[in-house]
Each structure stands twice: as C-alpha cells, then as structure tokens.
C-alpha cells in the first residue's frame, strides 16, 4: 500500500507562505494602468513565454481570426515576470497555475478562471542516464531526483504518480527520494 503523504514542517510552510504572499499582494491592491477596466480599451493578456505558446496566438496576432473589433494586446513574459505580472495585476487576463488560483481562493482572494491554457498529454517524464542502472520508477527509492521547482506542475505530477502507483513516500524532504532543485540547464 502506498504510504499516505503528509508533508509538513518549515519547508512546506515557507513554500505556502511564498505562494500566498505572491498572490495576496496583487489582489488587495488597485489595478494599475496596464489593466484597465474601462470598456472599449485594449484587453491586455500576459502569457508566460515559451516558444510553443506562440503557436496558440499566431493566428490572432496575424489577422487570421475575427476578434469582433476587440483590441487585444498579448505580452509574452519570462516565467518570473509572469509571476510578477500576476502579483501586480498588470494585465486584464494573465496565465497562472491552477494551484495558484486555488490557493488565492482559499485565502478569500478572488481571481477567476476564464479558460484553460495548456493540457499536458505526455509532456512530463522522468529521464535517467542509461549508465545509472535505473530502469524502473520503483528503483528510485533512495535515489536523487532533479526537479526544476518544488511547486511546479511537473513536480506535483511526479510526486503524485510515484506515490500512488509505485508506493513511494514523495515528501519533498524526508521521503523515499532526495529531491534536488536544479535549473534544467545543469542536468
């Protein structure tokens, strides 16, 4: 039986506090000029930048679809800037993590979901060097697993699957694996 997952302690609290601080600031403040609520002005969108995401907006940006006369301004943001844009309410519409929206709601801070963004069909995997001898996820007990962020979508999925299907304790600290947060460039 998979062991239940009970993350606790200072590390988890710091992560939650950071997320709440990030979300609380924007939602308690006034909308800056870039996020006008005046009807008829341009609708502004902030999207975290990734080459593939340009695929979604190319037709819109190149006059291939009807915008109903609406002036739509799309800004692509480096990931960290996207977080700041959400914090500062810099855009009328901004891309966010579903978990960030839920955390905001739990704190009584209102944002709402206009649409889905990306669906992960088969994007997230665990890779290993063939020289490591690790061939099966069940062999990861006691091993070091690199992640790009402790709160990222790929990490959440990985923790969930390794716990539910392989019975590993996937707490970020003190579990069956040693999670190591590292920029992907170093892998």
């Amino acid at each position: 039986m998979p062991r239940p997952h009970h993350p606790a302690g200072p590390a988890r609290l710091r992560r939650i506090a950071a997320a709440v601080m990030f979300l609380a600031a924007p939602l308690s403040g006034c909308a800056p000029s870039g996020s006008s609520s005046v009807p008829g002005s341009a609708i502004t969108i902030g999207i975290s930048d990734d080459p593939a995401k340009h695929l979604a907006f190319w037709a819109l940006e190149n006059g291939k679809v009807d915008t109903g006369g609406l002036d739509i301004k799309i800004t692509y943001l480096p990931n960290q800037s996207a977080l700041q844009a959400y914090q500062s309410r810099q855009f009328n519409v901004v891309e966010a993590s579903p978990v960030g929206v839920a955390l905001a709601a739990q704190k009584g801070l209102a944002t709402s979901i206009l649409s889905a963004g990306l669906t992960d069909l088969d994007a997230t995997v665990i890779d290993a060097a063939q020289s490591s001898g690790v061939r099966d996820p069940g062999q990861l007990r006691g091993k070091k697993l690199a992640i790009s962020s402790p709160t990222g979508s790929s990490t959440i999925q990985t923790q969930f699957v390794l716990s539910k299907k392989y019975g590993l304790d996937t707490k970020l600290q003190g579990g069956d694996l040693a999670f190591q947060t590292t920029a992907p460039e170093a892998w």
Binding site: A52, H54, A56, S97, A128, K164, T170
Partner: protein, 156 residues
C-alpha cells in the same frame, strides 16, 4: 547534462525543451511517462495553466472577455488545423525549430479559449494531485472559481 551523466543525480523530472534535448542525446531515456500515468490514475490529462482575470474586469468588461475567449479559441483552432503553416511561421521567429515544435505538439495541447468538460476534469485532476501531495489543503469548487464570462465556452 553533466549532473545526470556524472551521477550527481540519478534521474530528472523533465518536460519541454530540456526533455527534447536530453532525449535526443545518446545515453538518456525516459523511465516513466508521468502525465500519461496521471491519466491512467485519474482519467484526465492535467491542465497545467489557466487564463485568469479579476473581479473588476469581469464586472466592467464581461462581454469583452467572452469575445476575447472566443477569439482565443479560434486562434487555437487555427493552429491545430493549419499546423505546418503556423509552426513554420513561429519557428522562424523565436528560436524554436520546426522539429522541436512538431515534437512539442505531440506532448501538449493548446486549450486557450476553451473550458469544456475535459478541461474542467483536467483542472480538477491538477487540484486533486496538489491536494494529495500537500500543496493544497482542500480541493476547491471549479463552479465557484469559473469566470462569469466563461460559461459561454462550455461544451465548445
């Protein structure tokens, strides 16, 4: 790749360009397709990003938000229906090559402007996972978090 090849770590959770590069390098391979396994367990593919808006924007610009979402859906549909054209255009402009973008399109789905039943299931799947691993203390109600401009998208 020095950490992996040098034994500094045993494995990596990986996606997008880093995964593409790693899997096109001899000596590395996936040992688990994580998001596919999420689908096996929860019956939904996880929606990992959403478009959000704010109360005053919804209050004052609801119809425009609906128009925006409709245009975003049309743009997303265009990308799917004219994939070679759009990939060729984007590949020239932002340092992603055609091979990578074609590969990426097999691993992820663009859903901007959509909020259909599978999208809702994917958002709930993500919340379920976050709750199970301790990042969310409770799973929220999507009905309560859905924009007033979003119901027009349902079923599309």
């Amino acid at each position: 790749m020095s950490l992996l090849s040098g034994g500094g770590v045993d494995a990596t959770t990986n996606l997008n360009k880093p995964r593409y590069l790693l899997e096109h390098t001899p000596g590395f391979a996936p040992i688990l397709h994580v998001s596919k396994t999420v689908h096996e367990i929860l019956g939904a593919y996880p929606v990992t990003t959403v478009l959000t808006t704010y109360p005053e924007i919804e209050r004052d610009r609801k119809d425009e938000l609906t128009t925006l979402a409709t245009a975003l859906k049309a743009s997303t549909d265009y990308a799917r229906e004219h994939k070679p054209e759009v990939i060729a255009a984007v590949a020239g402009g932002n340092q992603a090559d055609v091979d990578y973008l074609n590969w990426w399109a097999t691993t992820s789905e663009l859903r901007y402007g959509n909020l259909s039943t599978p999208d809702e299931a994917g958002i709930n799947a993500f919340w379920t996972m976050a709750n199970a691993v301790g990042q969310l203390s409770k799973i929220p109600s999507l009905a309560e978090l859905k924009s007033v401009a979003a119901p027009a998208l349902a079923g599309k």
